[in-house]
Structure formats: structure tokens, C-alpha cells
């Protein structure tokens, strides 16, 4: 047990270090930007005195280190500054948009698992059969379609074939939860498509790989049925190796949602990000970037913890 605690502690230190470097990267990126944030806000006709005033209001006249720490303190109290463009707390703005992005990512992830997992199990039963090969080829093609292209094609399909016009409307979950899920389905599917392919391919090869492991042969020699071997040995082992890939897929889905929101015109973090980019709203931009990275870092951390719980070998490391 001690070694497991040590492992968790090590992972935690790694998490803190990574977050530190991530925050440095984000902060540095927005501190070395050419141009004076205060002047950008006030516009070209502002006097120097006005700019100076705003600079001190915004704390831009303080040394970098002080600004970094006050930013970090803000980030962890969910109040990393005020958006130039919206005149609102960055934390508040992000919180408003989170339901879209997270909801979409969650639905996409559920789709990925619900579709790829059974397919992979079926496909890996008889590798090389026609069904398996068809799945694999379709998987490759789906894998190569960027999410936003998939979105466009889905819109085209939904509009022209199914005569659906759900595109571009968004209903907040508080208003009508069913409609909220409904309006996120198509975009989620667009993000999920290539990831279904990725997850299918990985799970399939992972199951096939586990099937060829010696312990499967041992279990057979113990007289276990194929189904029992699949459920009790092969799937748990392939799940352990899938935890990491699932966290990577989740992070990809999060990244993919940034673009797909744009296509489907959903008010999520991606749109906020792009609006922040086009308005050079750096407090907002750095907030979004950092929180998205934070989510990913935590995802990886959780996946590490999960694998350590699932795999007794890791504790020894």
C-alpha cells in the first residue's frame, strides 16, 4: 500500500509540475504579445494618460512575476481577470459556455464507447472475416474525415435528405433538457465519427492482442469457456490499456468541439475562444486556454489513477 501511495504522490507532483509549466506557457504567450493591451482596449485615439490609467487599473504596470502570481491566484479562484470585450468576469463567461462544450464532449464520448466497443468485440472475434474487414475499411475512411468536414456533410445530409433544420439552434439545458440533448446530437456525432474509428481500431487490435496472450491459453487449459475468458480476462486487460487512449480521445473530442461549434453555430467555449481571438481579448483567451488545458491535465491524471487502480502492476513502479 505504501508503494501505491508513493505512486499517487508521484503522479500528483507530476500533475502540479505540468500545471505549472502549462500556466507558464499560457501566461508567457499572452505576455510577450506585441502591442499594449490597454491601448488595444482604448483604441488608437486614446491619450497616453488614459492608457496609463487603464494600465495601472489592469495591473499591467506591475512586474511580470507579480502579474503571474496574481493571475494564477485568479485562475484557481475561478476569477482570472475581466474580459476586455464583455466587461465581465472571465470565470463567469466560461461557466456560461461550459454546458455546450462539455455536454457535446460527453455525448460524443458516450457515442464513441457505445458504438466502437460492441463493434470491436464483434469484429475481433473472427479477425479477417468479411464483416471485420468492412468495419476496418469504413473505420479508416471515417478516421480521415476531419470533424468539421463531417459536420458539413451531416448538415448537407440532414438538410437535403432528412429535411431537418435543427442546425444553428441551441436550447439551454435549464430550458428544456431533451431539446438540449437533441440540438447537440448532430454536432456530437460529427466529432465522434473519427474517434469511433480510432477507438474501434484500438480496441479491436487490443482485444486481438490480448487474445493471443499466454494467459488466455492458460485459461483455456483450465477449461474456461470462450465467453468467460473474454469477459473475465480479455476485456479487463484490454480496458486497462484503453484507459489512456480514452483519455486521449476525450482530449481530442474537446479540441474537436472547438471547431465543430463553429460549424453548428453553438454558443460554446470554441466560439468564445474565437471571439476572444478576433478581439484580442487576452484575459478571456488565456482563461479559456488554461481551463481547457486544465481539464485535459486532470483527464490524464484521472486516467493515470484509474489505470493504477485497475492494474496492480503499476503500483510497484
Amino acid at each position: 500500500m505504501q508503494s501505491k501511495a508513493g505512486y499517487l504522490l508521484g503522479k500528483f507532483i507530476e500533475l502540479v509540475l505540468t500545471l505549472f509549466v502549462v500556466s507558464l506557457l499560457v501566461f508567457a504567450a499572452f505576455s510577450i504579445i506585441p502591442g499594449d493591451a490597454a491601448r488595444v482596449m482604448l483604441g488608437p485615439d486614446a491619450t497616453d494618460a488614459q492608457v496609463q490609467l487603464l494600465r495601472s487599473q489592469m495591473g499591467l504596470d506591475k512586474p511580470l512575476v507579480v502579474r503571474y502570481f496574481s493571475w494564477i491566484a485568479g485562475v484557481f479562484t475561478f476569477n482570472p481577470g475581466t474580459s476586455y470585450a464583455y466587461n465581465m468576469g472571465v470565470g463567469e463567461l466560461i461557466a456560461q459556455r461550459l454546458p455546450v462544450t462539455l455536454g457535446m464532449s460527453a455525448i460524443a464520448m458516450i457515442m464513441v464507447i457505445l458504438i466502437s466497443y460492441p463493434l470491436a468485440v464483434l469484429s475481433s472475434r473472427k479477425p479477417g472475416r468479411l464483416g471485420d474487414q468492412v468495419c476496418s475499411v469504413i473505420g479508416h475512411v471515417l478516421f480521415a474525415i476531419p470533424p468539421y468536414v463531417a459536420s458539413l456533410l451531416l448538415i448537407l445530409l440532414a438538410g437535403s435528405v432528412f429535411k431537418l433544420m435543427t442546425v444553428g439552434t441551441y436550447v439551454s439545458p435549464r430550458e428544456n433538457f431533451i431539446s438540449y440533448i437533441g440540438c447537440l446530437l448532430l454536432p456530437s456525432f460529427a466529432i465522434a465519427l473519427p474517434k469511433i474509428a480510432m477507438s474501434f481500431k484500438f480496441l479491436r487490435s487490443s482485444i486481438i492482442e490480448q487474445n493471443s496472450k499466454d494467459y488466455v491459453r492458460t485459461s483455456k487449459s483450465h477449461g474456461l469457456s470462450d465467453l468467460k475468458i473474454l469477459v473475465r480476462h480479455v476485456l479487463p486487460n484490454s480496458n486497462v490499456s484503453s484507459i489512456t487512449i480514452i483519455s486521449i480521445i476525450l482530449s481530442d473530442i474537446l479540441g474537436g468541439s472547438l471547431i465543430v461549434e463553429q460549424v453548428f453555430n453553438l454558443p460554446g467555449l470554441g466560439r468564445l475562444l474565437l471571439s476572444a481571438i478576433s478581439r484580442r481579448d487576452f484575459p478571456l483567451l488565456s482563461g479559456i486556454v488554461f481551463y481547457l488545458a486544465l481539464i485535459t491535465v486532470l483527464l490524464y491524471f484521472i486516467s493515470d489513477i484509474a489505470s493504477s487502480l485497475a492494474d496492480p502492476r503499476i503500483r510497484l513502479k
Partner: protein, 540 residues
């Protein structure tokens, strides 16, 4: 001869792997016909790919999907196995037929405790309606039977927490749990060291007698069946070519192939007459090491931890001192984990260590165990030799003349090692293991070192390549007066060519002296144990 009941009768079995392109390929098993008598230990010997594993899988009903039995039948205790449903055959496994395999390190599910995995054997068979407590007791008893004194503790462990020998015992326990009538052992000892091998074989023999289990023992090593199997079959290219009692086969092989298998197992007969140089022990040593203490940190490049507490935890070597004299072939033997490899890595400066190493030579050569990885697959032999030359103080320099000179020396050295200029542009993957080891030696020689450290150079080579390599080493020793520090677990070799040996155990030198003295009259327990294991395996 008394009439024996055959528990398994394999009758003219022919098996092949047809594909769409080749519907009628050369059979993998060709008219295999034998019986396993109740209560005996039957050895099945042959090189890899000869079909011995397929034979065992055919009996167990675990053949790959694409295998087709085109002819013949298998009967188990009178029942025709091939006529049974796959489900029923699977149900026989564990209950009537147990199996253990070669690689104990991967044969257990890493995510499940030993107890649960063994319990599965019981729960898999429906007719077995024991209660949970009974099952636990059965498992614990069986673990005790296979030699665990702390069986209850083992139940809660995961496979990675056990050693290779312990895992093999767990597997044997699993296979024997329902007291099957037949136990198929597919190379159960080939990945274990000699001392463990001996104990596993003893365990199998004990089970055979105590539980009246019949054993089919598969091995590529004829010497392993000595003193273990009652009868032996020799298999080649899917056919059984020789079949008799063990003593008959070993003493009187009836065909060339069996004889070859036999000699392969006996390196000692081939290396008689090698003559190493005479050693002058009054000369100053070419290598002196004093109080070497070393261990592995997180990486090879990290300093050894300084705190005294951790030293005892991590260190593999504890104050080892040794001298290698000019001209000498010093043997270094010891069981696995005794610290031999750590010692030579420290001597070669590859590992941070405490203590002093002084080498009276501009360079030290080294050759290693694995002939596959000893050469860089990306480069030609010429590149290897030039690289060695370039790194040595003897480099004739750049420029056209220097290069021409270098090439000449490379060819000379290659020829000295029994290879010629035609090898210059070959790549490592075009050479055999023995040839690669020679290239490795040539790379050392071109640097003209006074000492070559050889770390188990024979362990992956077959007998004839080993013999040739040994001859090359003694020739070099005699003609170039190069000293060798030879690490090996093979006592015959040491006996033949090393005037002096050092025996290591648990990171310390436990015995040191002339070979004859140490081997005939061991003073320490570890030497005695090594000799005993060697004797039982090889019958010397």
C-alpha cells in the same frame, strides 16, 4: 514387457494448415502415431518447428482455427476426442487434461490475484459444486503441495509479485488442481535458470507419483529429459523418428538426428584440447578492482545514492575486489542475480560505482550475451569496424592513406576472426549468431586491447558455434596475449579454458581460486549448489 494401458492414443495423426492459395500444403504433423501409457512421463523432443507443440495442442483441442486434421484420430481413455463437440472438449481441460507452458511470466492474467485465477479452474467446471470455502481450501492445499510454505499469502498476490519459478509452480498448481489424468508440459523449464529447473522437474516428478498423473513432457533439449522421463520420442519435421526408453536413446542414438541433438547438448566433448596461454601471476594485473559497490539508480547515468540506508536497499554489489592478470582467462561464474553483470558494467565504466578500478590498457574490449543485438542493424560490417578503429588510439587517421590503411587492418582482423573481406559490406541481419559474435570480437581486436570482457557470449549460441567461438578466444589469448574476463554459467567451459575462477553470489565473491581446486572441492555453499544443479541437468 508388461501390458500398459494407453491413456492417450494418437493414431496416424496428420495435420496441416491449408490456405486458399495452397489447399494441400506440406503437413505439419505427418502420420504421428504414439501412445502415452498411464502413469508414465513421456518426453517429446525436437527442435522448434518440428511439430511437438502442435501435437500437444491437438491432444488438448486448442489448435488454431486454421489448422485441419486431415487424417487420424486421438483417443483419450478410450473416447474419440475428434468426434466430440468443441464445448465438451474444452470442459475436459483442467479436469482430465492439464497443461503448463513455457513462459510462466506471461501465462497468468496480470490483473487477477493468484487465488482467483486458481479458483476459476474449479468454478469453470459446472459439475464441481463446492462451496467457496471448500474451493479456497482446495486451492490452498494444492499450493502447499507444489511447495509454497506461505500458501495463504500467495492467494492474495498478483502474478508480478512472484518470481519466475514461483509462477511456474502456481501454473502447475492450476493444472493439477482437479487432479487430471494427463499433464502436458510444453517446455516448462526452458526460460528458467538451472537451479530452478532442477526444482521444478523434481516437483513434476513428485506430482506424477503422488497424484498418479501421467505427464507428456515437451522439450527441445535432450539433456533435460535425462533422469526425468521414462520414455522419449524424438520428432523431426512432423514425424516421430525415434522412440524408446530414455536411457536407450541417450546411450545409443539410433539415427543421425538424435545423435546430433545429443551432441548439441554436450558442448564439453567439442572443446577438449583447447589451449589457453600460460599465465604469469607475478606480473602486475591488467585490471585491478577494489571494493566495488554499485547499484541501479533510476537511470544508468545517475549517481549512486549516498545515504547508507539506501545503499543496502539498492546495491547489487557489495565490496567486490578482483585482479585480472595479463594473458589470463579468468572465469566468473554465479547464478542469475548474483551480480555478475553489474560487476562487469561497473568495471567497464558503464555504471556509476564506488571503489577503484584501474586498467593497464588503452582500451578494453567487450562482447556480450545477445548475438542479435551485439551489432547495429542499421550499418554494414565495414562501418562497425571503422567505427571501432576510429574510436581507438590506434586510428591511422583520416585522409586517403589513412583510410586505405584502416581498410587493410580491418580485413586482416576479420580474417583473423575467421571472416573475410567479403563480409565488409554485409549487414548484421545477413549473418548468423556465431558470425556476429565474431564481428564483435573483431571490433575489440582492432582496438588491440589488453583485456576483453566477455559476458555470457555462448548462452545464445548452439554448440558448434560456441565451440568455434571458444576456439577463437583461446587462439587470441595464445597469440595476442590478450587477457579475458569470461562470465558464464557454463561450468564445462570454465573447466576447459579458465586456469582460475571466481564464484559470485548475492553481490559478493564467495569463492576464488584455481579452477581445478574450486570445482573439485567447493568450499562455499553457492558453488556446491551450482555444481549440483549442473550435475543433475547434464549428468556430469
Amino acid at each position: 514387457m508388461a501390458r500398459h494401458i494407453h491413456i492417450v492414443k494418437v493414431h496416424h495423426l496428420t495435420l496441416s494448415f491449408p490456405t486458399r492459395k495452397d489447399p494441400d500444403p506440406k503437413p505439419v504433423l505427418d502420420d504421428v502415431d504414439f501412445g502415452i501409457r498411464d502413469g508414465e512421463i513421456l518426453g517429446l523432443i525436437g527442435n522448434s518447428g518440428c511439430g511437438k507443440t502442435m501435437t500437444s495442442l491437438a491432444i488438448a483441442g486448442l489448435l488454431p482455427d486454421n489448422a485441419r486434421i486431415t487424417h487420424g484420430s486421438i483417443k483419450f481413455a478410450g473416447k474419440d476426442l475428434l468426434a466430440m463437440k468443441p464445448k465438451d472438449r474444452r470442459a475436459m481441460l483442467g479436469k482430465d487434461i492439464g497443461m503448463i507452458f513455457q513462459e510462466p511470466s506471461t501465462a497468468l492474467d496480470p490483473l487477477m490475484t493468484i487465488g482467483k485465477q486458481l479458483e476459476e479452474v474449479l468454478t469453470a467446471h459446472k459439475e464441481n459444486t463446492q462451496s467457496g470455502e471448500d474451493r479456497l481450501k482446495a486451492v490452498t492445499d494444492m499450493l502447499e503441495l507444489v511447495g509454497f510454505t506461505n500458501a495463504e499469502e500467495i492467494l492474495g498476490r498478483y502474478p508480478h509479485q512472484l518470481s519466475g519459478g514461483q509462477r511456474q509452480r502456481v501454473l502447475i498448481a492450476g493444472a493439477a488442481l482437479l487432479k487430471p489424468r494427463l499433464l502436458i508440459c510444453d517446455e516448462p523449464t526452458s526460460s528458467l535458470d538451472t537451479v530452478t529447473t532442477v526444482s521444478i522437474l523434481a516437483l513434476l516428478k513428485e506430482l506424477c507419483q503422488k497424484l498418479r498423473i501421467t505427464i507428456l513432457f515437451i522439450s527441445h533439449d535432450l539433456s533435460a529429459v535425462r533422469g526425468f522421463c521414462d520414455r522419449v520420442m524424438v520428432m523431426k519435421d512432423g514425424k516421430i523418428i525415434d522412440k524408446d526408453t530414455t536411457s536407450d536413446i541417450l546411450s545409443n542414438p539410433r539415427n543421425a538426428y538424435t545423435a546430433e541433438l545429443l551432441t548439441n547438448a554436450r558442448l564439453d566433448t567439442r572443446i577438449l584440447g583447447l589451449e589457453p596461454a600460460n599465465v604469469d601471476y607475478s606480473a602486475s594485473p591488467v585490471l585491478t578492482a577494489r571494493d566495488i559497490t554499485a547499484g541501479y539508480g533510476r537511470s544508468l547515468f545517475e549517481r549512486v545514492r549516498k545515504t547508507s540506508e539506501e545503499k543496502t536497499d539498492n546495491n547489487v554489489l557489495h565490496g567486490v575486489s578482483l585482479d585480472v592478470y595479463p594473458n589470463e582467462i579468468l572465469g566468473l561464474i554465479g547464478g542469475s542475480g548474483s551480480g555478475k553483470t553489474t560487476l562487469i558494467r561497473s568495471l567497464l565504466g558503464l555504471l556509476p560505482h564506488e571503489g577503484a578500478v584501474s586498467i593497464k590498457s588503452a582500451s578494453v574490449g567487450a562482447i556480450f550475451q545477445d548475438p542479435v543485438s551485439c551489432l547495429n542493424p542499421a550499418h554494414t560490417i565495414k562501418w562497425h569496424m571503422s567505427e571501432a578503429l576510429r574510436s581507438s588510439p590506434k586510428d591511422p587517421g583520416k585522409g586517403f592513406k589513412g583510410r586505405a590503411k584502416a581498410l587493410k587492418r580491418i580485413i586482416t582482423v576479420l580474417e583473423e576472426c575467421g571472416l573475410g573481406a567479403k563480409y565488409l559490406n554485409r549487414r548484421p541481419n545477413e549473418l548468423s549468431g556465431g558470425q556476429r559474435q565474431r564481428i564483435a570480437i573483431a571490433m575489440c581486436l582492432i582496438q588491440e586491447p589488453a583485456l576483453i570482457v566477455a559476458d555470457e557470449p555462448f548462452s545464445s549460441l548452439d554448440a558448434s558455434s560456441s565451440a568455434e567461438l571458444l576456439k577463437l578466444m583461446t587462439d587470441i589469448n595464445r597469440e595476442r596475449h590478450t587477457a579475458f574476463l569470461l562470465i558464464t554459467h557454463n561450468i564445462h567451459i570454465v573447466r576447459q579454458i579458465c586456469p582460475r575462477i571466481i564464484v559470485m553470489d548475492e553481490g559478493r565473491i564467495c569463492e576464488e581460486g584455481t579452477t581445478a581446486e574450486v570445482l573439485t572441492n567447493p568450499r562455499s555453499e553457492c558453488t556446491a549448489a551450482l555444481l549440483e544443479a549442473e550435475r543433475r541437468i547434464h549428468g556430469i
